[in-house]
């Protein structure tokens, strides 16, 4: 447990050393710049658009970090041959893998938390001095606490994507892992369509295969409640709980398979 925690902390330190958190600066510049420009272009929809932009940027930056660092977690150690010295230490392979995963999730959590704080700061600035009458046009208050629900589910989605990236990186090259993870991300947003598509097929065998595929692939669309939150629609805690439980089981499954592959891998 202690070894896993140390590995996780080191992954976080390494990402800080690698200047991964620089993306926060871009995020802040993007939001501040957009808040300045958008007010003049959107006919009173600036708060909605800043919320959309902030949440989308958090998702995109998070996705990039999860994919491009996730795929390097294992392959980098193998390429640099540092995996030999690591495995020579009294740690199990599963500890190494889970530690790496937890470290990246920690990096993502810090990243997403800072971005959420920056988004609230920009929204506070934009809503400063806005009359109650003018604010009536907003579907939800500018500093809506429900934004945290969308941010939380976004982080949950990123934990799944990190697990996917780590899974692919245990047996594939970094380039291929990145392509496969991005592919899974795209497919993960269309699993419901895949299910509907299966209903339209004449062949029962193909339809059955599609249905199995639609349940087996990660359903990432369920973590996207951004539009609901921005429009002031309620997102039930029960829904969030079920989606998070799904993510926890899916991540555990992927980590188990990754550990299995990694523990059987021959580094000679």
């Amino acid at each position: 447990m202690k070894a896993t925690a140390w590995i996780a902390i080191n992954v976080f330190r390494e990402s800080v050393r690698d200047k991964v958190l620089y993306n926060l600066v871009f995020f802040a510049i993007l939001l501040i710049g957009a808040s300045y420009l958008i007010g003049q272009l959107t006919a009173g929809q600036d708060v909605k658009i800043i919320k959309d932009l902030g949440l989308a940027a958090t998702s995109i930056f998070g996705l990039f970090i999860a994919v491009f660092i996730g795929i390097g977690l294992v392959s980098k150690e193998v390429e640099r041959r540092s995996v030999y010295s690591l495995l020579a230490k009294p740690i199990h392979r599963y500890q190494l893998l889970i530690g790496k995963y937890c470290g990246l999730v920690l990096t993502l959590t810090v990243n997403v938390a800072v971005m959420a704080a920056a988004l609230y700061a920009v929204l506070a600035y934009m809503s400063w001095g806005v009359s109650a009458e003018a604010a009536r046009i907003w579907d939800a208050p500018a500093l809506d606490p429900a934004l945290l629900k969308a941010t939380f589910l976004l982080l949950v989605e990123l934990t799944v994507i990190t697990a996917i990236a780590l899974f692919f990186s245990t047996f594939s090259t970094p380039m291929l892992s990145a392509a496969l993870t991005v592919g899974m991300y795209l497919v993960g947003h269309f699993t419901n369509d895949l299910r509907n598509f299966a209903d339209l097929l004449d062949s029962r065998a193909v339809a059955g295969f599609m249905r199995v595929l639609s349940w087996a692939l990660p359903n990432l669309a369920q973590f996207d409640v951004r539009a609901d939150v921005v429009h002031g629609q309620p997102v039930a805690f029960g829904y969030m709980g079920l989606a998070s439980a799904y993510a926890a089981i899916y991540v555990a499954m992927l980590l188990m398979i990754s550990v299995l592959i990694f523990s059987r891998r021959d580094f000679k």
Binding site: I38, G44, D52, A221, V230, Q233
Partner: protein
């Protein structure tokens, strides 16, 4: 020795700054010598909302925002271009015939916006006003305005505002007061609808089309407007109605003068000298009215120009 790297860095920074300004200057020179061709054709590469929904994956709402900004710019640019063609600031040519190109992309842009984000409230409400505005202020398509609002109602059947807006489009642009009254009534029956919608429905049905009922409607819109733009538009409409009243009163005075003098007044000065008027009459936007050939009209330079087409009263029309 330690100063050397600093000197080199400063030198590089200065040279880089000089090169950047030189490249900018070169572009400006090239634009002056070989002016870039104006892009006279607007294009929308993807017109299918569902396809765009798939392409934008989890970023539908952000894509909707982009299309909304594009729709606003497209509408604003179109209006500005038509105004500049007329050569009179803010006064587009009312005589110009609508063309198929004018505002042709407005509905597709709004349709894409609302398909990507079906709860984009303002896109329905503003979009409907943009679409219904008569040429050259807009494409003059109240049918598309109603279609957009009905799409909004399918997404949010509880929005009485959309029903009110449909009634408003029928009232103001179609002059179909029965239909307008029907929509106002339907809107008034939804939870949260304001009390005045019921009386607006009754007034529209009984007096539809007269200035007083128009005034009631615009006053209601002005008071309930959530957005400055809608409030300012309602205030402008109220001033236009006031201008119509003033033109009627002035026309009566001009006609009386012509009857008494046996000749139409050549200009306002004749009426001022005859003590019919204390001075040159101005419209509610402070622009002097015109008197040409014995007819009182609003100046094209007025912010209130063009005045709305006077609607015919419901009772004057044969029942449909």
């Amino acid at each position: 020795m330690r100063d050397r790297p600093v000197t080199v860095a400063v030198g590089v920074a200065i040279v880089a700054a000089l090169m950047a300004s030189a490249s900018a200057e070169l572009q400006a020179v090239r634009d002056r010598v070989y002016p870039p061709r104006a892009i006279d054709e607007d294009s929308l590469y993807i017109r299918s909302g569902p396809v765009l929904q798939r392409l934008t994956v989890a970023y539908n709402a952000l894509a909707a925002d982009v299309y909304w900004i594009r729709a606003i710019q497209y509408y604003g640019d179109g209006k500005r271009a038509l105004a500049s063609q007329a050569g009179v600031p803010g006064a587009p040519p009312m005589s110009a015939a609508p063309t198929s190109e004018a505002f042709a992309l407005l509905y597709p842009l709004l349709d894409l916006t609302t398909t990507l984000d079906p709860r984009f409230n303002i896109a329905y409400r503003f979009g409907a006003v943009f679409l219904a505005e008569p040429y050259p202020g807009g494409p003059g398509r109240p049918d598309l305005a109603v279609a957009l609002l009905e799409k909004g109602l399918r997404a949010r059947p509880d929005k009485w505002e959309y029903m009110e807006d449909i009634g408003f489009v029928h009232y103001w642009y179609d002059h179909d007061y029965r239909e307008a009254a029907d929509w106002f009534r339907k809107a008034s029956e939804l939870p949260g609808a304001p009390w005045w919608l019921r009386s607006l429905a009754a007034t529209t049905l009984i007096q539809g089309g007269d200035r007083q009922s128009s005034r009631v409607m615009w006053e209601a819109i002005r008071q309930s407007a959530e957005v400055d733009w809608l409030r300012q538009d309602a205030e402008r409409r109220l001033l236009q109605l006031q201008a119509l009243d003033q033109i009627d009163a002035l026309q009566r005075a001009v006609d009386d003068y012509a009857r008494r003098a046996g000749t139409p007044a050549p200009d306002w000065l004749a009426l001022i000298r005859a003590r019919v008027l204390p001075g040159t009459p101005v419209d509610p936007a402070n622009t002097p009215y015109l008197l040409t050939g014995g007819r009182v009209t609003l100046a094209q330079s007025s912010r209130l120009w063009p005045l709305p087409k006077e609607p015919t009263r419901l009772v004057d029309r044969p029942p449909s």
